[in-house]
């Protein structure tokens, strides 16, 4: 957990940006930017207040013919909600061309204002090649310039990185959904006093509504059951496709910076921290329940990985995976129902 140094500095003008590695890019950028502006907030707190956790299986949103699965809410949702709930103002702009976007960046750098931006991981040379797909909703912070190169705080990296202007311009103007269009943002106002109680309450309430009450079969806990029923039919796709479909679920759950178990562990960390901050034992106990559900998600991924590796379409194996998911859904149903009844 991130802890602030005693007497953490509030003077942002002369302060070097303090990069802290995170599990996920968006909650990480929010946490790092707010901390730089004097508001101490950990990644899990940002994630929970921003109602980051979710589930959705969307067979009609396909990438290379593979249906999409998500364990989080839509891009930029966390940033917008955290800021709204904490009373933080963020100035955000988009640009019509790379020249204007890079000029605006240079101005911000000259004024010593760290800026968050939306980018495509495909054009970020400091990331390992294997992660560089056309994913356009990656968040990072640029906080300075050394010679010709920009200093980048990419939350998923251990330390700060450098990037050449050409690559950064390409990353900011990548094509495809969601198109970044040079989107750049900075914190323009932070309240002097923040009470976490109401934002935590709002974050939890919305999350419980999304998980329990959205009337679509593909979203929330219904979505987990929906996927569970889909998986039984995967063997009909043939071994190659079945393995690719399963593999994509594993990757969305474990690979793209979720902190493990598709953000479930990060959300449990949020409940634990919120429980301590608000002196609420119920939240701390519920954190443990969610950890247990997260372990079941991990178990599902482990078994799915074995099926992928074996590359067989053994019907029993897929039935087993489907049952594991049904069990996860049951666990989440109980967990979110209890969470929705906690008095805050």
């Amino acid at each position: 957990m991130q802890t602030a140094a005693p007497g953490a500095i509030n003077n942002k003008m002369n302060q070097q940006f303090n990069h802290v590695q995170s599990a996920h890019c968006e909650s990480g950028v929010v946490s790092n930017l707010l901390r730089h502006n004097g508001l101490q907030i950990s990644e899990p707190m940002a994630f929970g207040i921003g109602s980051g956790i979710f589930f959705g299986h969307l067979p009609f949103v396909k990438v290379n013919g593979i249906p999409g699965t998500t364990y989080r809410i839509w891009p930029s949702g966390i940033l917008n909600k955290v800021c709204k709930r904490l009373g933080v103002q963020v100035h955000s702009e988009k640009f019509s061309n790379p020249q204007k976007a890079m000029a605006a960046l240079d101005q911000a750098v000259a004024a010593n204002i760290p800026v968050g931006m939306q980018s495509s991981v495909y054009y970020l040379p400091y990331l390992p090649q294997a992660y560089r797909f056309h994913f356009n909703a990656h968040n990072l912070v640029v906080f300075g310039k050394e010679g010709n190169e920009y200093l980048v705080s990419d939350p998923v990296m251990e330390g700060p990185a450098k990037i050449d202007p050409e690559s950064l311009a390409q990353a900011r103007f990548a094509k495809g959904y969601p198109e970044p269009k040079g989107r750049m943002y900075h914190v323009s106002h932070v309240p002097s006093q923040v009470d976490f109680r109401k934002p935590v309450k709002q974050g939890i309430e919305q999350t419980c509504n999304f998980m329990l009450k959205v009337p679509f079969p593909m979203l929330g806990i219904k979505g987990i059951r929906y996927l569970s029923k889909k998986i039984v039919k995967y063997p009909e796709l043939g071994e190659r496709k079945a393995a690719l479909f399963l593999g994509n679920i594993i990757r969305m759950q474990e690979e793209i910076g979720t902190g493990g178990a598709g953000f479930r562990f990060m959300y449990a960390a949020f409940l634990q921290e919120a429980g301590i901050k608000l002196q609420n034992d119920e939240l701390r106990n519920l954190a443990q329940s969610l950890t247990a559900v997260g372990d079941e998600w991990r178990n599902f991924a482990f078994e799915a990985g074995r099926v992928c590796k074996a590359r067989t379409v053994d019907q029993n194996a897929f039935v087993n995976l489907s049952q594991l998911l049904m069990h996860v859904a049951e666990g989440e149903q109980q967990f979110f129902t209890k969470l929705s009844k906690v008095k805050l």
Partner: protein, 132 residues
């Protein structure tokens, strides 16, 4: 997940330098951040996704060499793009890009259009014209 259960299954794809953070509980039941170099199921899924990509590239290349499709089809796969992304880069509709997949149409493209495709693929026009 317990702190000491956070897997450390490395593979070539991750490079030795890249560690992701995971949230796991320590012996007191408190959440802490733990770096991990990778996990077997995820490594399998990632390797499999790249195998698929490489298959697609190889197939597209074969078709270009056979004269069935234009080099655009090959470079699109090689750049991990799909038609919608590529269309966005060159400022055309998807059906227009699909037309350019046909060698006969590709051969009629203007220098300016070739230039745009080459820029989208981050290669020279020379390379675009010759698939090796």
């Amino acid at each position: 997940m317990k702190k000491d259960e956070v897997p450390q299954d490395n593979n070539d794809l991750h490079k030795q330098t890249f560690k992701q953070l995971f949230y796991a509980v320590d012996n007191d039941g408190d959440y802490v951040k733990v770096p991990s170099v990778g996990w077997e199921p995820e490594n399998v899924a990632m390797a499999q996704a790249w195998d698929e990509v490489n298959d697609r590239i190889a197939q597209a290349k074969e078709k270009v060499l056979q004269g069935e499709v234009s080099p655009i089809a090959y470079y699109m796969e090689k750049s991990l793009m799909d038609i919608s992304i590529l269309a966005g880069h060159v400022g055309k509709f998807q059906w227009q890009v699909k037309r350019h997949f046909k060698p006969a149409n590709f051969n009629k493209l203007s220098d300016k259009m070739l230039q745009r495709y080459a820029a989208a693929f981050q290669i020279s026009v020379q390379e675009l014209l010759q698939v090796k």
